[in-house]
Symmetry: C2
Subunit: 349 residues, 2 copies
């Protein structure tokens, strides 16, 4: 069943407001979650809402106010997120970095003690629509799913990084991570009793496996870094980079031993106008985009795609025709609507 995009956003925003988030936080969080679903990131959209509502209720997610400003230099900003909603903090950080990059060419905003930030891909078009290149990366110092290459004990989160690159047409929207897969997908496949799509994990003894439940076994296993057994030192390097950008620059991380679902966040924006110029930038990126799409495909049935093209089509379709959510997501919201006294979502498309 398809639901109008705006209805899904409104329903999620009502739930978040009823739970206690103030100001524009409910709307911003709701819109980014629905967008993640529309982009196909169905483990990082409204599927997260029950856990967010739980954390608002318990106080683990801060309901109101602003981040504390730790450092505010023209091109270098550090916020203490005070466990405010990470989705709202990150959206604001992108807006600030875009505004500053217009004057300084680049701006970096790092956030310590954010709550969870959901799907990084959902933040990119706020920058690319302004003609800017953006990088968003995050890690959660209180969680560990990925071991350093050659090791058995999980130490890093998947450490996602998303990059938005303007072209003359649709932007390139990259959303990758330092690990082959995410904890969210592993959990979903575990529940479904299915294996991972490849040998993407290590069991508790450090043996390669496609078992999806490695994070809940005893001894606990881990998800493999990008490159897997064959060349996982590359994903290991990427993880160290992202942990340093997010936790090192924000000055808050694993060394603090702080518990609680959250994130350290790195946002960086470049305004090509203040480098070699917007047209010169887009001339190169448009050439790349065209030559990727025109590349002769290995499988004639599968043309080479640009990262983000499927996600952008998903958002456009969801906004035009409504969105069908992944099974179980809407059902999990029903008890929350009852508890919070919010009208249930209309079932019609």
């Amino acid at each position: 069943m398809r639901h109008p995009y705006a209805d899904l956003v409104a329903h999620a925003a009502h739930l978040l407001a009823a739970a206690g988030l103030d100001g524009d936080k409910p709307t911003v969080v709701a819109e980014r979650l629905v967008r993640a679903d529309a982009m196909g990131h169905t483990t990082h959209g409204l599927a997260l809402l029950p856990a967010y509502l739980r954390d608002i209720g318990s106080g683990a997610m801060t309901r109101s106010g602003e981040p504390a400003i730790v450092v505010d230099r023209p091109a270098a900003v550090v916020w203490d997120g005070r466990r405010l909603p990470g989705v709202w903090l990150t959206a604001r950080a992108v807006d600030l970095a875009v505004a500053r990059a217009r004057d300084y060419g680049t701006c970096t905003v790092v956030i310590r003690r954010s709550h969870h930030i959901a799907a990084l891909a959902a933040y990119l078009t706020a920058a690319t629509d302004a003609g800017m290149m953006v990088v968003v990366a995050s890690s959660d110092p209180a969680a560990a799913h990925v071991a350093p290459y050659g090791g058995k004990r999980a130490l890093f989160t998947p450490d996602p990084v998303a990059i938005g690159i303007p072209t003359e047409g649709d932007p390139i929207l990259i959303d990758i991570s330092a690990s082959i897969t995410t904890a969210g997908l592993a959990a979903r496949l575990t529940t479904a009793g299915r294996p991972l799509p490849g040998v993407w994990a290590l069991d508790g003894e450090g043996r390669p496996t496609d078992a999806a439940d490695v994070l809940s076994t005893d001894p606990r296993g881990s998800l493999l870094p990008i490159g897997g057994i064959d060349h996982g030192h590359k994903g290991y390097g990427l993880a160290l980079w992202i942990e340093a950008l997010t936790q090192g620059l924000s000055g808050w991380g694993r060394a603090d031993g702080e518990a609680g679902w959250g994130g350290a966040v790195f946002v960086q924006v470049f305004d090509p106008e203040l480098f070699a110029g917007g047209p010169a930038f887009r001339r190169q990126t448009e050439w790349l985009a065209e030559n990727c799409r025109a590349n002769p495909p290995i499988d004639p049935e599968k043309p080479v795609r640009l990262p983000g093209s499927k996600a952008a089509a998903g958002v456009a379709r969801a906004q035009a025709e409504g969105l069908e959510l992944f099974p179980g997501i809407l059902e999990a919201l029903v008890p929350w609507a009852e508890r919070l006294g919010v009208a249930a979502l209309d079932g019609r498309a």
Copy 2:
């Protein structure tokens, strides 16, 4: 046979000066090449010198002068490298970015029309020794070795990226690329008649292979992006990111169709002191370093290593005990020494 580090640098510098490089260019280029050999990057050290000397002779590498300054903002700089030695340009770019980051927290220098920049790992300690985090990335718009994921025609270079991260002890020195392997290693293994260490390539029909000669077959094959057949969309995303950083921001790249061995270069430095503080940064990175080293290894004989630790040990050993070059490298310099009238390297260690 081991040669004193300083003798190797002096010999390479003499050759470069005799070929016509002016000022401090011979010494800077020579030192970074010898350091690359000492770090274990033996395809990207003195093995490159004959080709550099050839390009100096032909005029393909510019011998003298400064880069043209295209943009000079406090934290955003664009140079036209005028085909000057890329090793010298990149070393200077790191120095400038370090100086600017001290005032602004971060500085980005991009270079168009550089000549080749050799091993990216050799530039990192100039920043980490100053307590700063550095990223160096490059691409060569005139070359193509890696196809977009799902495609058959090479479009990207391996697109290396190196990251230097200070800790309380030795810095973490990461040197990876968007492809599984490099054109240099593929060429060396082709000459040796050996396969690649894994299924790291596609043949001209787009079939996965461990053949090392895919770049010289007809139809031409390609090197696989990180993740290979299994999850190569991650390396593809990384390649697009690096091509946009290097060619997009510098405003010079594949769209220009310019021939000739060269590079577009991206250098970025962060001074942690102007973010959350140097001690706060190093507290996190030192924790990461310690917990990587202490991670229980899969193979008890192979402790988990930090990226760069082997390379740093190689440099320390080379500086203390001299350096044994990869077979054939020194022999290839002999005819150049004769042609340029430079005394041959003393054969004793």
